[in-house]
Amino acid sequence: MTLELNRLTRAVQEMGQTLAHQQKDFNQWVERARAWLAEFADRGPTLREAAPEVGAAIPTDEPLDAVIPLPPLPERFTVIGADGTQIGPDRHGAALYYLINVGSLVYRHGSGQTPEARSLPDLRYREEDLYEGKLLVQGNLLDVRRDRAEIEHLADRVEAESPGQTPLPNPTLALVDGTLLLWVLENLSAEVKERNVRGYLRQLDRIRRKGAAVAAFTSRPRYTEVGRLLHLARFGEDRTRAEAEPNPLERVPDQAIFSFLPPGARSALFTSPRAINRTYYQAGGQEIRFFYINVAREGEEPVIARVEVPAWVAGDPGETPLLALAHGGVVAQSRIAGGFPYVLARADELAYISGPERERLEEMVETALLAAGLRPALSPKAYYKSLTRQGRRW
């Protein structure tokens, strides 16, 4: 044992006391933020222009403090969740490769049928797969490949619900965990950004053409974009003054402000202020909007999540409006297991790669290399880790 826990006793005690003290301040700011939400409820149109400049949520036509109750859902509807995990290229391993494993679950509400579970691994090892220009596909780039694999798999599953041109048999919601915005690309070159976002938007378009809704679900979100909007509103949309003054809501996540939402209700819609949203998503007609939602059951403590949808879901006027489907579908799914959509919990389980499975894959790769006449070898560092971490690897 190398972590000497006895040396941390005092620090942990102090931590508890400090956090309890901070909580009092925090609660006061949450109350003020809610008061501002009501005070500036109708100022959305005047804040729209300045909001993205300060990274604040961009208001839509709904009042900022709108509370939209849980809409009725059809007796039968389908929710499809997909999630992915990856093994990144390891320069200490026997060979350079990466693996993306996508899991998915098709859950048909009201059918009494067994949901369809799938798990699809994809191994990439060729030069053209491992590099984007000069960059090795790892870290953020690999995350984006995983996001693209997830959305492509979702589009496949949606299309499989009704082959060819036939309409979907039931209203269908496609769900991913996290976000629809590939903002992790923001620091990369325009070419890498463009190629990846366009690829992603093509998949969203496939889902749109089938008439299904698509949404991303973030559990316990830490965004402060609505807080920034309120700060801006306090200075009468004067961006310069708002930026000059420290924002007391910068450490108050939006989800705390919206914990007043009754069970099943959602907040107003906002537009994400991310630069990538305006540059690529808006241009492609898929601007991303979001709302907060209380997915708790009646009579239980609030569980606030953030849901992102493209503009065509947010503004869809159809018979079962796609926005109502995303709203009601997320709540129905989250109430099954409590606080998190069932399809996403299962998709995560189906995509998960355990420690022994990782080792087994590495063994398979080594065996295949040997069979092909190559002599794979771990780096000295990896070799020594395999000796020292026995028994505490997972």
């Binding site: 679950l105 059918s111 949901p115 099954i336």
Partner: protein, 200 residues
Amino acid sequence: MADGVIPVGRVLRASNRGFVVGCRVMQPDIPAFGSFVRAEGRAPETTIYGLIYDVVVQDDLFVRRFIIADPPEEVVRDQRENRQVPIEVSVLTVGYRESDHIFHAIPPQPPVTMDTLYQCSPEEVMAFTQRFDYFRLVLSRPEVPADDLLAASLQVAAVARPAQEREDFLVEAGRELARLLAGDLLRLDGLLKRLRSVDR
């Protein structure tokens, strides 16, 4: 899947007298109590035979969330039919094979960790149960439910045979049991009753 037979799982820990296998299977495929299974021995061309005497379904935190929640039918079916449940299967060693010769005795070496365990085919079950010397190994082991295990294994062995041979096979098995348990008539009576209820 080797030789068209179903792999049960992989050996987690082993001794000469028995071993435990870990597997993740769908619920309808859970290995049955009293089934004959085999694993490769360490020496070439040796096979170790065993009887499954305990199957433990491990605790599953995800399922726990639904126990009191009265989940929808779709969830129940998903949990039952799609989810792989972690299972530990305990096996009692009852014999081994070297080349073509089958011994009803404890093998010289246990199987190796991570070895695959297979369900025996009906032909293998018939070949192994040509004799009944393995009864002694089962009856002498206090940690296994020996009487139920013997009855279940004889049912498997009877079903592996053509219908017209089953009765004779079970009568022969009963005679061997009467010889072994001559000093414990109560136990013998219980075992024979179990055998009588075997589907012929």
